[in-house]
């Protein structure tokens, strides 16, 4: 690199690439439009000259009326600051875009997702297979002209419900699922999953040959899952083993895929809110938060003070819940069967009581609204929170610390296992506790503050070894920091309204795009939305942290022992509701 990187400044990139770089001038849009043939050059410059070292999100948008496909990238500097948004537009008939995996390896799964769901082909991608749908699925389900089984109308609310709503069950309406498409020549009776897996096993061909061990061990492929107690859901790891050593891993998922984004595009803006609960179902309040931020940015409204405090309170309680579960179940994966997880769940239950009292539900909270929250804190809730954050939780976290941190078995099993260096973590787009355990102090609450996080005193927790033990330590310490934030919240929370304007069941969202991101318990949770001024979003995309964090699973597991894979997966802390969407 000849020039030193330019970091932390808001520069005008147009000056650097005057010939072909264009500003996105559609009303409500921001960022740059890069011609496909210059994408790699631009990406190289962004990473090496301008310090955009982490590619946060890659997704596509189908602009059916214009006949275009657009690939939208969001890159960020791990030193802090807002995200940079740039796009590549290609013809919808033959959408081919160069792959940026060679520059940002973290784009791997996300490009595969865009290929799978939108049919955008990424040239130069090392392993462009379907990722959420099964191999052999007909069509690309996020395209605007694709219709799901039981398709009724383009957008909700459906006309059949009112005023002539004669009830009918979906199954009765289409007794034979008459709009399910099968690929040409597909016969469900003769199809077997093995034929679909051939495509996957073929990618291992080159490493299956050529074992270099002195013992002349055979290499073999082992499937962990999809039904396996350690995989935290229906998730499969296809592992190539040389003896007991892991040569390569490829995760297979999508078993819980429900086309969340298509559902979102059928829904009105408000109707999406309860669906976001079901992404990472352990931390529904954070999911609400990110989505509310994205839409509010487009609407240009801000919640009142009290609502901001309530939001932060809920988000931090959620972080505690999520980290407690993560720690508890990591110990499960290590073989400490259920005692630590149940101690963690006991604290979680008390926090869920609070969620239930304010939102009406323990897990599917659906509490945030555009410009505020659904309702004020009921009587007595604040006292309960105070009791938890001043009395019980600090004591219990110390107990956890005493219980686990210095346990020799825990340390032997986790220290030096699943190591991810800082460079690798950044390259693989890891975020959240994984990135911070690798020595990169990147926390969106500090790096690009949203809501009112700039008012609170807290430390960004960072550890430097990048192994499973450090990820555990980061999570434990983050619970302490969350408690610290909560103590400030309950001290400062003002009285007042909790909603800007009147609650509306149908909101007007001006045309444009918006990317709202929060530091979720598992990493950067981003929502990319495109509005065309209609009651439904044109595009609704979720940048799910545990989905992207899985990109680094192979890097962590390679060279380790097969028994450690389970622990490594536990330390990534995935929730399949979010991975599969």
């Amino acid at each position: 690199m000849a020039e030193s990187p330019v970091v932390g400044t808001q520069l005008n990139l147009l000056d650097h690439f005057p010939e072909w770089l264009k500003k996105d001038e559609r009303p409500g849009f921001e960022g740059y439009i890069v011609p496909a043939e210059h994408l790699l050059e631009f990406a190289h410059a962004l990473r090496d000259r301008f310090g955009y070292d982490l590619l946060s999100s890659v997704t596509g948008v189908d602009y059916l009326p214009e006949g275009k496909m657009e690939v939208v990238y969001h890159a960020l500097q791990t030193t802090g600051g807002p995200v940079l948004n740039f796009k590549v537009q290609v013809d919808r008939q033959n959408p081919v875009v160069p792959s940026v995996v060679s520059i940002w390896p973290g784009a791997d799964f996300q490009e595969r997702e865009a290929w799978d769901l939108l049919g955008i082909r990424f040239e130069g991608h090392p392993d462009l297979r379907r990722i959420l749908m099964w191999e052999g699925f007909a069509g690309h389900p996020l395209r605007k002209d694709w219709k799901e089984p039981y398709f009724e109308e383009e957008a909700k609310p459906y006309k059949s419900r009112w005023p002539e709503g004669h009830v009918q069950r979906a199954e009765d309406r289409h007794p034979l699922h008459d709009n399910v498409d099968y690929p040409a020549g597909f016969d469900p009776d003769s199809w077997s999953p093995e034929t679909a897996d051939d495509v996957l096993y073929k990618t291992y061909q080159s490493i299956m040959e050529g074992s270099d061990s002195e013992l002349h061990t055979d290499r073999m492929i082992v499937n962990l899952g999809p039904q396996h107690p350690s995989t935290h859901g229906v998730f499969r790891m296809v592992v190539v083993l040389d003896g007991e050593t892991v040569v390569d891993v490829k995760p297979v998922f999508g078993y819980l895929h429900r086309n969340h984004e298509k559902i979102g595009e059928r829904c009105t803006w408000l109707q999406i809110m309860p669906f976001t609960d079901r992404l990472d179902y352990i931390s529904s309040m954070s999911n609400n938060f990110g989505y509310a931020l994205a839409v509010e940015r487009l609407m240009g409204i801000k919640p009142p003070e009290r609502a901001e405090y309530i939001r932060v309170m809920m988000a931090e309680l959620t972080r505690i819940v999520s980290h407690l579960i993560s720690i508890g179940f990591l110990l499960n994966d290590l073989g400490a069967y259920f005692t630590p997880s149940l101690y963690a769940l006991e604290e979680r239950e008390l926090i869920l009581d609070i969620f239930e009292a304010v939102s009406g539900s323990r897990m599917m909270c659906n509490y945030f609204r555009f410009g505020g929250v659904a309702r004020d804190l009921p009587e007595g809730v604040l006292d309960k929170v105070k009791e938890l954050v001043f009395e019980r939780l600090p004591r219990k976290i110390d107990e956890f610390d005493r219980y686990l941190t210095r346990n020799e078995i825990v340390r032997v099993r986790t220290e030096g296992v699943g190591v991810l260096t800082a460079e690798q973590a950044i390259a693989l787009s890891a975020t959240g506790p994984i990135l911070r355990a690798s020595g990169v102090p990147y926390d969106i609450r500090r790096a690009d503050p949203y809501s009112i996080y700039d008012r609170f005193d807290f430390d960004v927790v960072v550890r430097y070894h990048g192994d499973v033990y450090d990820r555990y330590l980061v999570r434990l310490e983050e619970i302490r920091q969350s408690i610290r934030i909560l103590q400030q919240v309950v001290r400062d929370i003002p009285e007042g309204p909790v909603q800007t304007g009147k609650p509306q069941w149908q909101v007007r969202v001006p045309a444009g795009e918006s990317y709202g991101r929060v530091e979720g318990p598992k990493g950067e949770l981003g929502y990319y939305i495109v509005s065309n001024g209609k009651p439904n979003p044109w595009r609704y995309h979720v940048r799910a942290p545990s989905f992207v964090n899985l990109t680094s699973l192979a890097q962590m597991a390679r060279g380790g022992k097969v028994a450690d894979i389970v622990v490594i997966l536990g330390s990534i802390d995935i929730v399949l509701g979010e991975v599969d969407r």
Partner: protein, 203 residues
Amino acid sequence: MNGLGIVRGLWVTFKHFILTYIEDIRTGKRRYYSPEGILARTKGDVQGAFTIQYPEEKYPVPEEFRYIPFLVYEEGENGQKNYRCTSCGICAKVCPPQCIWIVRTNDLNTGKPIPAPAEFYIDVDICMNCGLCAEYCPFDAIKMDHDYEIASYNRFTDHIFNKERLGKPLSYYAQIRPQNFAREEAARKAEMEAKAARKAATA
């Protein structure tokens, strides 16, 4: 590597174990199967076992707890059910999974809509208990229930709730959500009075 960490950890587990017995002996019989015992086990300072033995014991639900919606009706003098619903359709339109089906009543002579539902259905297999219908109903006519034990034997016939199955009296609503009820009644009363005052002013 001297095993001290393990011993320390085991001591925590041991303390948890002993504490359940100490708590049981200290609190005695009323710790289980009694309302105050259940309440004590939901508090933040709970010691010992904190599990609730469902279904013998039931966890008290907070006022905002929400489950499948119901339709509020006011009881008339002769015991007839006066549903508050005007079949305006907002709940059906705001419902995310679109599980509410309403047939509006039309006047037989003029064909104009009458503010009352002829039929009202909720497909409870589809309902996601989000509570948006209750939140945005301008007439306080649809509310979220507290009754979560609705298992049935036949999913083909029993899971589409009609108006009769959904209807619950206002008194029931007042009982499960006293604070919300009081607030809404006060607002309704204030609006009525304002209306009367306006009428008096124009007359």
